[in-house]
């Protein structure tokens, strides 16, 4: 598979008057052509800032303070606004979590769609045809009339579909989906996820899916990175993650999911709360909440290390985490793969 994106040791900081918030603190990952890469973590762990930096859309005063974002061997982190504009939409596009506020309330859907392929030299008829095709693609009924409506005339799910249509307007190779279903109700969530999966296959694009929902990861992703306090603490393929999690944080997240075995009993939560990104502890950022933490955890930051081929964790104690039981048995793996083929 061709490597599309390689993020190397990305650092994003929000300098303030009194303190600097290190929102992304040395994140590295790769995304290949045609795969769905998941980025999972709690709110405020730096997932969204990682996504925004991939398009040079960090909110002021946030800035990339280190590392590289190599998109097909060009470094996005070093691009000028003009160069970024060529990447935005055409190569990489973005959908946000809040469909209610992500469309301009005073412009017709038509105009907002047209903007997506404004750079291309199209006639009026071609533009209209393309816009209608896009709305059809995302499953919006009677697109001809919907084109001239305003966002407030669309329901939440329809707006999210419209946003996806706009994001796909210039046929990007990589779609960044920042919690695309968080604001939608469950049935619509499922529809949108299925739509994304189907579009990925039809158009052959890659998706980076940001979410805090492990269920969504299981449904959608080929590979996953778990983020905590601005760092990737565990990264592997989805099946491995769910069958053999190796980081205490990932394990904790899985323990907090409801399952058949734990039905009726209280769900287990990870004690404590995420650290303040402006005052990170000296050692492992997860140490204060970790059941297995020892002195070295509180003293030194763990480096990312490979525990098996393609499975990386940031933990001082891989020998302890070896015993973790995943949510699925290794034998489920074949079952899942069969599901995929079906």
């Amino acid at each position: 598979m061709e490597k599309l994106l390689e993020v190397k040791d990305l650092r994003v900081a929000f300098p303030g008057k009194w303190e600097t918030v290190r929102a992304v603190d040395g994140v590295s990952f790769q995304v290949f052509q045609g795969e769905t890469f998941g980025l999972v973590g709690e709110s405020g762990c730096g997932k969204s800032q990682t996504m925004r930096s991939l398009l040079g859309l960090l909110k002021s005063p946030g800035q990339v303070t280190g590392g590289q974002i190599l998109y097909r061997n060009q470094d996005i982190a070093k691009m000028s606004q003009k160069e970024l504009r060529k990447i935005r939409g055409r190569e990489i596009s973005l959908i946000f979590q809040e469909p209610m506020t992500s469309l301009n309330p005073v412009l017709r859907i038509r105009k907002q769609l047209y903007e997506a392929f404004e750079g291309e030299d199209l006639t009026k008829e071609e533009r209209e045809r393309r816009a209608i095709e896009l709305l059809k693609l995302v499953g919006i009924p009677s697109p001809e009339t919907r084109l001239d409506e305003y966002p407030h005339q669309f329901s939440g799910g329809m707006r999210q579909r419209a946003m996806i249509a706009i994001a796909l307007g210039a046929r990007p190779r990589l779609l960044l989906a920042d919690e695309p279903t968080t604001a939608l109700d469950v049935t619509i969530q499922d529809q949108i996820m299925k739509l994304l999966n189907q579009l990925k296959q039809e158009l052959g694009m890659s998706i980076i899916l940001v979410t805090h929902d492990l269920g969504v990861i299981a449904q959608m992703c080929d590979r996953v990175a778990v983020m905590y306090a601005g760092q990737i603490v565990e990264m592997t393929d989805t099946v491995t993650l769910f069958s053999r999690p190796r980081h205490p944080y990932t394990y904790g997240l899985m323990g907090s999911l409801p399952s058949e075995d734990t039905a009726g009993s209280a769900l287990e939560a990870i004690g404590g709360s995420p650290p303040n990104l402006a005052h990170l502890p000296e050692g492992c950022p997860f140490a204060p909440r970790c059941k297995y933490a020892t002195d070295i955890c509180r003293r030194e930051r763990p480096e990312a290390a490979q525990v098996e081929p393609g499975h990386w964790i940031r933990c001082h104690h891989p020998e302890i985490t070896q015993t973790f039981q995943g949510l699925i048995q290794a034998s489920d793996r074949t079952a899942r793969e069969e599901d995929d083929h079906a």
């Binding site: 935005r88 939409g89 973005l94 946000f96 309330p105 412009l107 305003y150 946003m163």
Partner: protein, 299 residues
């Protein structure tokens, strides 16, 4: 709108009659004999019962025959027709000036929130809001008319170009407050709007920044700008009474204040009514503009 206008006619009619002072005595002067005053009062129709005076006023409105002014010795309609364009020109000039200054500067300040430029713009607008317009008018007169001799200190000219020159200082004076208020409003709108996801989403499409600015940021800022502007235009019309008096410009504001001091009932009634109609027209235009600016509003 019609019921509002009806109430306005009652208000206009009664307010002028509540002001103390006999019109006939003011017209004839201190030394007039009681007989002459009585005769003039009779002639002015002021001995009639109030209710029939009011119906006469209403009939004049509907027939568009506004009667004659006693102090100017000419038909009120003609008087209004000659004064109205001056006030209209002054209002339009000051409004245009406000928009030209406040929109770009407001955008600039909003985008550079809390930076030096923003602080400077905000301080300047605070100063502008705090200065009373008659005082600013006098200051401008001293600097630009008396010291630098760029513009006339007041009065009116016969040629169109001359009249334009006469309107510059008054327009600046009048626009100051509106500019400052619009500036602050635009700045705050830009700060709020640039935080919205749809602006980032627009940028993520790879469209040029100038389009993000006009189509997404300023387009959305227009909704509240129009609200504020219509309120300010109504206030500006009221303010023209002061400005036109300070610069002695023959507009409706000056006419209104002269007529009130001279107890020229016929003129006062119709000037004030005209102001009221103008404010209503501005509101109507605003409502229509709304439906274009914000599709969520329907008439």
């Amino acid at each position: 709108m019609i019921p509002v206008l009806f109430v306005v006619t009652i208000l206009v009619f009664s307010i002028i009659r509540f002001i103390p002072g006999e019109p006939a005595r003011l017209i004839l002067g201190e030394k007039a004999t009681p007989e002459a005053i009585a005769a003039l009062t009779e002639k002015l129709g002021l001995t009639e019962p109030l209710i029939s005076q009011y119906f006469l006023f209403l009939r004049q409105i509907f027939t568009l025959d506004f009667g004659n002014s006693f102090t100017y010795q000419m038909p009120v309609a003609k008087l209004l027709a000659s004064r109205f364009p001056v006030t209209l020109a002054l209002t339009l000039m000051s409004t245009a000036l406000s928009l030209l200054i406040s929109l770009p500067l407001g955008y600039f300040a909003g985008v550079h929130k809390d930076k030096l430029g923003d602080q400077a713009v905000r301080t300047a607008s605070l100063v502008a809001i705090s200065m009373p317009s008659f005082w600013v008018g006098l200051l401008l007169m001293i600097v630009f008319a008396l010291k630098l001799r760029w513009f006339p200190a007041g009065g009116w000219a016969d040629t169109l170009g001359g009249q334009f020159r006469c309107l510059i200082l008054p327009a600046i004076t009048q626009s100051l407050m509106t500019t400052a208020l619009l500036l602050r409003n635009t700045r705050n709108c830009v700060v709020d709007i640039t935080r919205m996801d749809y602006v980032d989403f627009a940028r993520s499409k790879g469209i040029p920044d100038s389009e993000v600015r006009t189509r997404h940021v300023m387009r959305n800022a227009m909704v509240s700008t129009v609200t504020l502007l219509s309120m300010r235009m109504a206030a500006t019309l009221g303010g023209s009474v002061i400005i036109e008096t300070v610069f002695s410009i023959p507009g409706m504001g000056k006419l209104a204040s002269d007529a009130i001091f001279g107890r020229d009932y016929a003129v006062v009634q119709f000037v004030v009514l005209m102001f009221a109609v103008l404010v209503l027209v501005i509101n109507l235009i605003t409502d229509i503009l709304y439906s274009f600016l914000d599709p969520r509003v329907s008439l």
